[in-house]
Amino acid sequence: MSKPKLRARLASLSFSEKIKILEKLRDRDKAIAASGLRRGPKQAGNRRPEDITK
């Protein structure tokens, strides 16, 4: 299924169904954060300007 079609299909869901998806996204996000898999800017090698100047 193409991305526009998928988005259209998701947009046509009921608000309750969409909220359930938001809840799953939230739970997944928290699980990733708790696992330490998400790296911060320094760890990812993306140094911030203030890090470079100091």
């Binding site: 998928l6 988005r7 259209a8 998701l10 947009a11 869901l13 608000f15 309750s16 969409k18 909220i19 359930k20 998806i21 938001l22 809840e23 996204l25 939230r26 739970d27 996000d29 928290k30």
Partner: protein, 183 residues
């Protein structure tokens, strides 16, 4: 207010708490805005918080608006304050008293809906777009584009709202920059 299966409670629980707070007279009419409000019209997008635009019964006398009654009410029921949010059922909720006529109108004219069996109110698509335009951050512009691309906004109604709130020049700029001119 955590769920007993270890996961945070569903949004339904958060809304039930807000509805009870309304029934208890702590808040007046409210409407969901922001990313969750936009989800009513668009495909769901990950978000970390729930924006609740809320009228306060005590704010009618021209006195300073205080969110203290909301915070006290929710803290006494297990809510946890985190910066500008109060966490209810695992969802950080930001309560936002209408800051201008546009936001007030958005609350007044909000659409009634339900999450499962819990009644709630969501801002109209056109008000969400107008507020996003007025706010003007990159993520707001992105959201407006989603509304336009998914044809989820009544352009005539949007035009009336933009005109009424002095946002037409800003919309023309937006169209020129992001939509290649008037659509």
């Amino acid at each position: 207010m955590a769920h007993n299966d270890g996961k945070d409670a569903p949004v339904r629980v958060t809304l039930e708490t807000i509805n009870q707070m309304q029934a208890d007279g702590v808040i007046g009419k409210y409407a969901i805005g922001g990313a969750v409000g936009a989800t009513f019209y668009l495909d769901p997008a990950a978000t970390v918080d729930l924006d609740i635009f809320v009228t306060l019964p005590t704010a009618s006398g021209g006195l300073l608006v205080s969110l203290s009654p909301i915070y006290e009410y929710l803290k006494s029921r297990g809510g946890e304050v985190q910066d500008e949010y109060i966490v209810i059922g695992g969802w950080p909720v930001q309560f936002l008293p209408p800051n201008n006529d546009l936001e007030q109108e958005a609350v007044t004219e909000a659409t009634s809906t339900a999450v499962e069996d819990v009644r709630t109110w969501v801002m109209s698509a056109e008000h969400l777009v107008a507020i996003a335009l007025k706010t003007g951050r990159a993520k707001d512009h992105n959201r407006i584009l989603q509304f336009v691309e998914q044809d989820a906004v009544d352009r005539k109604k949007l035009g009336r709202i933009l005109e009424q709130h002095g946002l037409t020049p800003k919309w023309i700029q937006f169209e020129a920059k992001f939509l290649g001119g008037p659509k």
